[in-house]
């Protein structure tokens, strides 16, 4: 598939699409491997497995973008990865080919799913055994309940004679065990018959043999799930409280995101345009500008920053200034960008500094104007020029061009 025909959306939207589809696929994975187990979603292990499954498409989307197989602003790629990452990993997708041998990728996930299943098996057994004991104790507490239960089971069981024989066998032990113990054994034997009937719990509840609270406990799968539900409610309440208490700086988030995008080497032209436009707006916002200008200028010093990105960043800075925004401290911040490792970036920054001086109507400094960073990469000379530019701009008062 040619991804160039895909709508080009902001990367955050594409990652959102991948995550949303990932939620659906993860839930399907869990359901396929563990689905049908009562109380599955009450276990922390299930959620951990779910989050691991969810992390795969997001991680894969990032990885495929990094390797150049797709771009992370392609909606079609997002849909393909989010909805079909299992096929991509197993090498069955003809459109996107994951590099390397990923055939064993699922092994740890299956092992973890096995662990979750084992935990669930043990917890289910423990919870239901506890519930069984409570129900048997309740029934065995009185002769009347035991008698009523016996009558009900005799009316339902196919082989009445076998049931009677078993109960008679227990009765025969009365001399050794005592009345209470015999009643308990009989209740347990009858209870074993009840749980083997379809909807047996409902039957014994409706006949008034067990109270509603024991029936509700059965419906909830025992007290284990109630405890997890309580923990879940507390956790959600805690998260809600934390979300209300912590004030996230949305300006900082957007700035960090836009700086990531503009500095990223594998982006589309449309994405570069978006990043530039948003950064210009941020550098014009009086509240965001001081930090944004400093951070954008710092990006120019990042090792490995492609020269075309340096151009884009400098263009955004000059656009923000030309548009009459606040853009404070642009020259002092840019002076520090002369420390960039890439001499081409250094040369461009130097040119911009000269341009800014010209737009301010400042008197040119011959020593600085004659310097060509491309020809001279000596550390001492570079520091000398940086100090020279710093001193120069500390004497100037540059206003936005009119």
């Amino acid at each position: 598939m040619d991804f160039s025909v895909s709508p080009d959306l902001d990367a955050v939207c594409c990652y959102g699409v991948v995550a949303l589809l990932g939620v659906w696929v993860s839930a399907r994975q869990i359901s396929r491997r563990l689905g049908g187990i009562a109380g599955l979603w009450m276990l922390p292990g299930t959620w951990l497995l779910f989050l691991l499954y969810l992390a795969i498409p997001v991680g894969l989307f990032w990885l495929l973008d990094q390797t150049g197989a797709i771009t992370d602003t392609s909606l079609f790629a997002a849909i393909l990865v989010g909805g079909g990452y299992e096929r991509i990993i197993s090498g069955q997708n003809n459109t996107i080919h994951a590099t390397g041998d990923l055939s064993r990728f699922w092994t740890p996930f299956l092992a973890f799913a096995d662990n979750v299943q084992k935990t669930l098996l043990q917890q289910t057994a423990r919870a239901r055994n506890r519930l069984d004991d409570r129900i048997v104790d309740w029934i065995a507490a009185t002769d009347q309940r035991t008698g009523q239960f016996r009558g009900l089971m005799r009316s339902r069981v196919e082989d009445v004679a076998a049931l009677d024989t078993r109960l008679a066998g227990i009765d025969a032990l009365a001399a050794d065990l005592g009345v209470g113990s015999v009643r308990e054994r009989k209740a347990r034997a009858l209870y074993g018959t009840a749980v083997s009937l379809p909807d047996g719990y409902r039957l014994i509840y409706e006949r008034g043999i067990i109270p509603w609270r024991l029936y509700v406990l059965f419906k909830c799968g025992g007290d284990m799930k109630l405890r997890y539900a309580a923990v879940l409610v507390l956790l959600l309440a805690g998260c809600g409280f934390a979300a209300m208490s912590i004030h996230l700086d949305s300006g900082w988030l957007e700035e960090t995101y836009r700086i990531w995008r503009i500095g990223k080497s594998t982006t589309t032209a449309a994405d570069q345009f978006r990043s530039r436009r948003h950064l210009v707006l941020l550098m014009q916002d009086p509240r965001q500008a001081p930090r944004a200008v400093t951070d954008v200028a710092t990006l120019l010093r990042r090792p490995g920053l492609p020269t075309d990105r340096a151009d884009l960043i400098l263009q955004a800075m000059l656009e923000a200034k030309a548009a009459g925004g606040a853009v404070p401290d642009l020259p002092p911040s840019l002076v520090q960008s002369l420390r960039a490792g890439n001499v081409d970036v250094r040369a461009r920054v130097n040119d911009v500094l000269k341009f800014l001086a010209a737009t301010c109507g400042a008197v040119p400094d011959e020593g600085l104007w004659g310097w060509k960073p491309v020809d001279d990469v000596s550390t001492a000379v570079l520091e000398e020029r940086i100090t020279g530019w710093s001193t120069y701009w500390s004497r100037q008062s540059c206003k936005a061009p009119t």
């Binding site: 491997r33 563990l34 689905g35 049908g36 187990i37 009562a38 299956l110 092992a111 799913a113 096995d114 299943q117 084992k118 669930l120 098996l121 043990q122 289910t124 057994a125 239901r128 055994n129 069984d132 196919e158 082989d159 076998a162 078993r166 034997a189 074993g192 018959t193 009840a194 749980v195 083997s196 009937l197 379809p198 047996g200």
Partner: protein, 87 residues
């Protein structure tokens, strides 16, 4: 786990019920796989347990079978389903 075991029809029925339910108690397994008594269920269950095809928590004696809990690790699902398809 046994490799390519031959299963009786009853054992296949029980295995299919456990595979569908993922985790199931003996009592429910009885009526889900169509057995009328725990004694009848005990035979195929023991066949599956002896071949290490299912996991069980609790005793599998006929009297205690309704209270035992059965399950199958997710990593074995595909293999066991193929076993059932093969018949």
């Amino acid at each position: 786990m046994a490799i390519n075991p031959t299963l009786t029809a009853d054992a296949q029925r029980v295995l299919r019920a456990i595979l569908d339910a993922k985790v199931v108690r003996g009592g429910e397994l009885m009526w889900q796989s169509g057995f009328k008594t725990p004694q009848a269920l005990a035979t195929p269950v023991n066949e599956l347990v002896s071949q290490n095809l299912i996991e069980v928590i609790g005793p599998v004696s006929p009297n205690e079978l309704p209270f035992a809990t059965f399950g199958i690790p997710p990593s074995s699902h595909e293999y066991l389903r193929s076993l059932l398809r093969r018949g």
